[in-house]
């Protein structure tokens, strides 16, 4: 009998090997509870979101102020001509 044949013979014999009795139920449930229930507010993400909102607010305020003082872009040209003609 060569080595491979011996290997196969032992493998057939090993088919019936029982495994030790185990119980992982409690640990699985505990770890799942932590994995699923542990998802909450992410502080770094919250801080970054707050800073982005603040920056966007500042830009919005400046934009509104700029809009309010916005004049006709060609009015400056006509003002100069009017002055000359006068």
């Amino acid at each position: 009998m060569n080595e491979l044949e011996r290997f196969v013979e032992l493998a057939i014999k090993a088919h019936g090997e029982p495994a030790p009795a185990i119980d992982v139920t409690a640990r699985v449930l505990r770890d799942i509870r932590q994995a699923v229930g542990g998802e909450g507010i992410n502080p770094p993400l919250l801080i970054f979101s707050g800073l982005s909102l603040l920056a966007a607010s500042i830009v919005a305020v400046l934009a509104i102020q700029s809009w309010e003082v916005l004049a006709d872009p060609l009015s400056g040209l006509f003002d100069s001509l009017t002055m000359v003609m006068q």
Partner: protein, 211 residues
């Protein structure tokens, strides 16, 4: 499990309605799956108790250390829970669990690959088993001898040889469990057998050259 349904649904997706066919999953499994997806921890606990010993017997092929085997079984069920919404019910739940277990076990072997002993080193368990009469050895001794040989092989070789010879899987079954094509399984098996023969021959020569 004190998990709110919304948190559970976030983790596992929708309630799973329509994703699982009752006639494929088996009525009892199907009940537990639906319960688990609704956030019923006891339903998933029943699934774990139903299949954990079967998973242990399978993962015992991947590690003969009791603590490590328990760890692998634990990992299988955690992965199963987190991916439960992906279970389509096209095959029995046990088949799906075995695929996860194969992946978990294979990953474990790959992590341990660095610790593999030199191939030419004497394999004492194999020496004893190779010389003993077939009926003298019990199943555990036979398995220990094979394990001592297989842990000297690459994860890929070990997987195909374990599934083919220790689990008695067909090429099609190995392909399904491993995610490989049937052609790849055949090629891998051929190469693994050649490397196994070389390993056993080298071990035999080492044994003969030593007292």
């Amino acid at each position: 499990m004190a998990t709110s349904p919304s948190a559970l649904e976030t983790a596992t997706g929708s309630t799973g309605q329509g994703a699982i066919a009752a006639d494929e999953a088996g009525p009892l499994d199907w009940q537990e799956i639906r319960g688990s997806l609704r956030g019923d921890g006891e339903a998933f606990a029943r699934l774990v108790r139903r299949y954990q010993q079967t998973m242990a017997a399978y993962l015992w092929r991947f590690s003969r250390d009791r603590g490590q085997c328990e760890e692998l079984v634990h990992d299988v069920f955690v992965e199963a829970y987190l991916g439960l919404r992906n279970f389509r019910g096209e095959a029995p739940l046990l088949h799906w669990l075995r695929k996860i277990a194969t992946r978990v076990g294979y990953r474990y072997w790959r992590r341990r690959a660095r610790q593999r002993a030199e191939a030419s080193a004497r394999i004492q368990e194999w020496d004893r088993a190779a010389r003993a009469e077939a009926d003298v050895l019990d199943a555990a001794e036979a398995a220990a001898a094979l394990h001592a040989v297989l842990e000297r092989m690459s994860a890929r070789d070990r997987l195909v040889l374990t599934l083919m010879y220790l689990e008695g899987c067909s090429v099609a079954e190995i392909a399904e469990l491993s995610g490989w094509s049937a052609t790849m399984v055949k090629v891998q098996a051929h190469r693994a057998r050649a490397r196994l023969k070389k390993l056993l021959t080298a071990a035999e020569e080492t044994a003969m050259s030593q007292p």
